[in-house]
């Protein structure tokens, strides 16, 4: 991944960010960035949406068409450090980036692009054409995320680092599992050939710093890091493996449901329930191997008829939180093995996660990381939000030498990390190396840092920054 020009982002100064579009993506991003002390302006054509944002958050809003130069000017694009074009329309986002680049010289331009037609022609985004530095597609990120959960049905979360070389996986320990009641060191004794590292354990929602002697209890949420190829073997030690996923049922054929069905239909038996008849017909035309059902996702008769009891993974992905919760609960009741519900309101997420619903997905937290990576200081390759935004996992690229950097050439236990931050692993070239205390960090390593409290993130980033004077 290319990194944006940091020279415009002066250390100590707040970053000026202009967000176009106050939809779901725009407002979550705004919320996340405001908390990190940035100057935010949000533009949208719907003043009602802006009013809601303005009420809750400390930011500036402006009503108008985001692709008009006059509106952009009024929003202060002239001295903006970063443009985030995340309106509903790909075209508006692309035009806004183009305008920002050719009229105002905005240093960093990020656009949300959903249409595969555009994404298939990357040359459209270069500096001769639409000048989009980074394109993001939240629906695709979310779809990839759910795909991982379906591939590893035992996991609560699977996050990729360093082009999928290393992964961070969250699992819940259950009574009767092979690890419960035993110290963590047993992991190494059982699999001497496979290197893995437990980065954190959350017990009853509070974090523990894991040590070799920590004894795992029923209900613990364990985060471990391993090379992606080894995930399955490690999972096997953590929990009894379920039988692999074969049958998937999806409720809601919107953007996410459709993408998910398309990604899964080759390898799994997929059934998709959609309420709108017209939408059903469109889906049926696009999907080849998915059984499209016209009906209500909360209709228990339809679920029985379609054998919800035999379903391995059930995903409720409509854009209505209450419906998703209800249909996920019904599916669980009906015997579905694992149920996932998409929930936008964070209050609901905390309410249902860990109850009957196995995984409550908050789209905002899943997708925000990809944006945060661009906004953060230091060379951050990836950011993943964990535990509904409370914790974070970062992939940082180390630069400099022993003099200019506080980490290069030092053993991991010599590094002055704040308490609660741990180095889980590092990726050096193609190798994934676990973060044992005597490991020495080299320049250009990708370091995966697990931070149990988001407040420490700033400190960690600072630690990894190259001292001024190096350049």
């Amino acid at each position: 991944m290319e990194k944006l020009d940091q020279s415009a982002v002066n250390e100590g100064n707040t970053v000026k960010i202009l967000i176009l579009g106050a939809g779901q993506v725009g407002s979550t991003v705004a919320e996340s960035l405001v908390s990190e002390a940035n100057d935010i302006t949000v533009v949208d054509s719907d003043s009602a949406k802006l009013a809601i944002l303005q009420e809750r958050l400390d930011l500036r809003t402006l009503t108008g068409n985001a692709s008009h130069p006059s509106v952009l000017e009024q929003a202060g694009i002239a001295d903006t450090d970063m443009l985030l074009a995340v309106t509903q329309s790909d075209e508006v986002n692309m035009v806004a980036c183009k305008l920002a680049a050719s009229l105002y010289n905005t240093p960093t331009r990020i656009a949300r692009i959903r249409s595969v037609d555009f994404l298939a022609r990357p040359e459209l985004f270069n500096k001769d054409n639409f000048c989009v530095d980074f394109s993001i597609c939240p629906e695709q990120i979310l779809t990839d995320y759910i795909c991982k959960l379906i591939e590893f049905p035992e996991a609560l979360q699977v996050l990729r680092f360093s082009q999928n070389k290393a992964s961070l996986v969250a699992v819940r320990a259950f009574e009767g599992g092979p690890l419960v009641g035993k110290p963590l060191s047993i992991l190494h004794d059982n699999m001497p050939h496979i290197d893995t590292r437990v980065a954190a354990i959350f017990r009853k929602n509070s974090p523990l710093i894991p040590e070799g002697s920590t004894v795992v209890e029923d209900g613990d949420e364990i985060f471990f890091i391993a090379a992606t190829d080894n995930i399955r073997s490690v999972l096997k030690e953590m929990r009894r493996m379920d039988k692999p996923t074969r049958r998937v049922m999806i409720v809601g054929g919107g953007n996410i449901g459709r993408r998910l069905a398309k990604a899964l239909e080759r390898d799994y038996q997929v059934k998709l329930i959609e309420y709108n008849k017209k939408a059903c017909e469109k889906l049926a035309a696009e999907l080849t191997n998915t059984l499209i059902l016209n009906g209500d996702g909360t209709d228990e008769k339809l679920m029985q008829q379609e054998n919800v009891g035999e379903v391995d993974v059930f995903c409720a992905l409509t854009n209505d939180d209450e419906n998703n919760i209800m249909s996920a609960l019904l599916a669980k009741q009906g015997g579905a093995r694992k149920v996932i519900a998409l929930i936008n309101r964070s209050a609901y997420v905390d309410l249902v996660q860990g109850g009957k619903i196995d995984i409550a997905l908050s789209p905002a937290h899943v997708t925000i990381g990809s944006l945060l990576a661009y906004v953060r200081q230091g060379d951050v390759a990836a950011v993943h939000s964990l535990r509904r935004g409370a914790a974070e996992a970062l992939e940082l690229i180390v630069h400099g030498d022993r003099k200019s950097s506080k980490v290069v050439g030092r053993r991991i236990d010599e590094i002055d990390l704040p308490k609660g931050a741990t180095i889980g692993a590092l990726v050096r070239g193609d190798d994934v190396i676990m973060g044992h205390h005597d490991m020495i960090i080299e320049a250009e390593d990708h370091v995966i840092v697990f931070v149990i409290n988001k407040a420490m993130v700033k400190k960690v980033e600072k630690l990894f920054q190259v001292n001024i004077g190096f350049f």
Binding site: I273, E274, K277, C280, E281, L283, A284, A285, T288, L291, I292, L293, N294, G295, L302, Q305, E306
Partner: protein
């Protein structure tokens, strides 16, 4: 009435154009120094041209645009009037030929059926043979344009399927926006493949006359031959192989060929669900029939069985109608299976006849949909072919077409049974004629000939050829009272 005269006006012009076709047999007769035949053909040419010219002149006040309704009338009129005038040289050259038999022969030629009432083909004047084969070839040309450009406009039996904006191979790129342009392009492809076929046959060992005649018959999927023993006369595996390849090409959609030539890539073939299904079905059938013949002991070696089974099967399944052996002598399963294939394997937009593979695919998928509907009542399961959704209205018109097709087969078979023909001969004759395949079984088998039929039976078969060629609806619609009501 005015509109009907407009149809006659257009028809007159067609006949004048058609009279140009006599040039080819005239040249042939000149080459062979057959002065009497030259005069006969010139006479026929003058007659046709002046007859057409007169129709055109008399009705010139009614010149005008034709409505879709009169499109049906014109198509049927063309396919009845052209065989009628084409009988002229046959009647002039062969003195004891009745008009019934001559009309059967030319209808069989222009509908690319290939059934014949004539015997002693080997000793007929070369010009007559060229004329018969040219009719095959012209019939094929006509049917391609009819199938690709005209029937879709009329929307017959789910033919909308093949319109440029809907699925299948044509969807990729509408051929060309205009019918005349499309027609010209398809003809060019047709002519080009025909020339390739003539050259290949010459290389495989035929003389020029035979190569031209057989290439015409193969491309039109007509199946006329210059020999009583048909292709069996040559007894050459090379010739059989060449003919098989070109028959298979002719049984595919010419629009696909056109796109392959234009795009210079074989991708359109891979995208052509219809063609792939046909070729697959034919391939499997060849192996099964060859194995069956070997098991039954018809041929002592599997390979001889495979050679004869594949040539005759391809010939019948593509609705061409060449024969290399008397497959009537094979155990009944084999020839009946071949006749069954003749009903379904040809592609839309090819020169073959019958139900067409695309309609078969639609029906198979419809059956699958019914099963899904029973198991999952809430399922939304549109019909898709090559990834494109087919609207239900098309499915219904395909169902309607199939129903009329079977009713026609049954009714016409009964008509032959009433007249005293045996069941196998009646049934196979109607199947062979309505699919425009050619030889049937029993009395009209590859060793026999339609000459044994009575006049009544000959007319029934002639009607079957016409109905089958024009996709049933086009002909039958003229017999509905609504058609003539204003």
């Amino acid at each position: 009435m005015g509109r009907t005269l407009t149809v006659i006006h257009a028809l007159g012009l067609m006949l004048v154009v058609f009279s140009i076709a006599y040039v080819m047999p005239v040249i042939t007769a000149l080459i062979y120094n057959d002065t009497a035949v030259v005069l006969d053909f010139l006479l026929a040419m003058v007659w046709t041209a002046s007859f057409g010219g007169m129709m055109w002149l008399v009705t010139r006040r009614y010149k005008g645009e034709l409505s879709i309704r009169h499109g049906y009338l014109l198509v049927v009129a063309m396919w009845t009037a052209m065989p009628a005038v084409a009988t002229l040289p046959l009647l002039l050259v062969i003195p004891d030929l009745s008009f019934t038999d001559a009309y059967f022969e030319t209808m069989s030629g222009l509908t690319t059926t290939g059934a014949t009432v004539l015997t002693g083909l080997d000793v007929l004047p070369p010009a007559i043979n060229i004329w018969r084969h040219e009719l095959n070839w012209l019939g094929g040309m006509g049917i391609i344009v009819l199938a690709v450009a005209i029937l879709p406009l009329l929307g017959i039996g789910g033919r909308q399927l093949f319109r440029a904006e809907t699925p299948g191979p044509m969807k990729d790129s509408a051929l060309t926006p205009r019918i005349t342009e499309t027609a010209r392009n398809l003809w060019l492809v047709y002519v080009a493949i025909t020339l390739a076929c003539i050259a290949s046959l010459k290389l495989a060992g035929m003389d020029w006359l035979d190569s031209i005649c057989h290439a015409f018959a193969a491309m039109g999927l007509g199946g006329f031959s210059t020999h009583d023993a048909s292709v069996g006369f040559f007894n050459s595996p090379a010739i059989e192989a060449v003919l098989m390849v070109f028959m298979l090409l002719a049984a595919m959609n010419f629009a696909t060929h056109f796109m392959v030539l234009r795009a210079r890539s074989l991708r359109p073939y891979r995208m052509d669900a219809e063609g792939l299904a046909s070729v697959g079905l034919i391939l499997i059938s060849c192996l099964v029939i060859a194995g069956f013949l070997w098991w039954q002991g018809t041929y002592s070696s599997f390979w001889t069985g495979l050679r004869h089974a594949s040539f005759n099967l391809v010939s019948l399944a593509t609705d061409c109608g060449f024969a290399s052996v008397d497959f009537n002598q094979w155990p009944i399963f084999a020839p009946l299976w071949m006749l069954f294939l003749s009903c379904i394997t040809a592609s839309s937009g090819s020169t073959g006849g019958g139900i067409k593979m695309i309609r078969t695919l639609v029906l198979i998928k419809q059956a699958g949909r019914e099963f899904v509907k029973l198991l999952h009542p809430a399922a939304v399961n549109p019909m898709k072919i090559s990834g494109h959704v087919i609207p239900n209205s098309v499915v219904f018109s395909v169902l309607g077409f199939i129903f009329l097709y079977f009713m026609s087969v049954v009714t016409l078979t009964f008509a032959l049974l009433i007249s005293g023909l045996d069941f196998i001969s009646s049934f196979s004759a109607i199947i062979a004629c309505i699919n425009n395949a050619g030889p049937g079984l029993g009395m009209v088998g590859p060793a026999g000939n339609y000459g044994v039929l009575t006049d009544f039976q000959t007319w029934v078969c002639t009607a079957a050829m016409l109905i089958g060629r024009l996709e049933i609806f086009t002909v039958l619609i003229l017999f509905t009272p609504q058609f003539w009501r204003r």
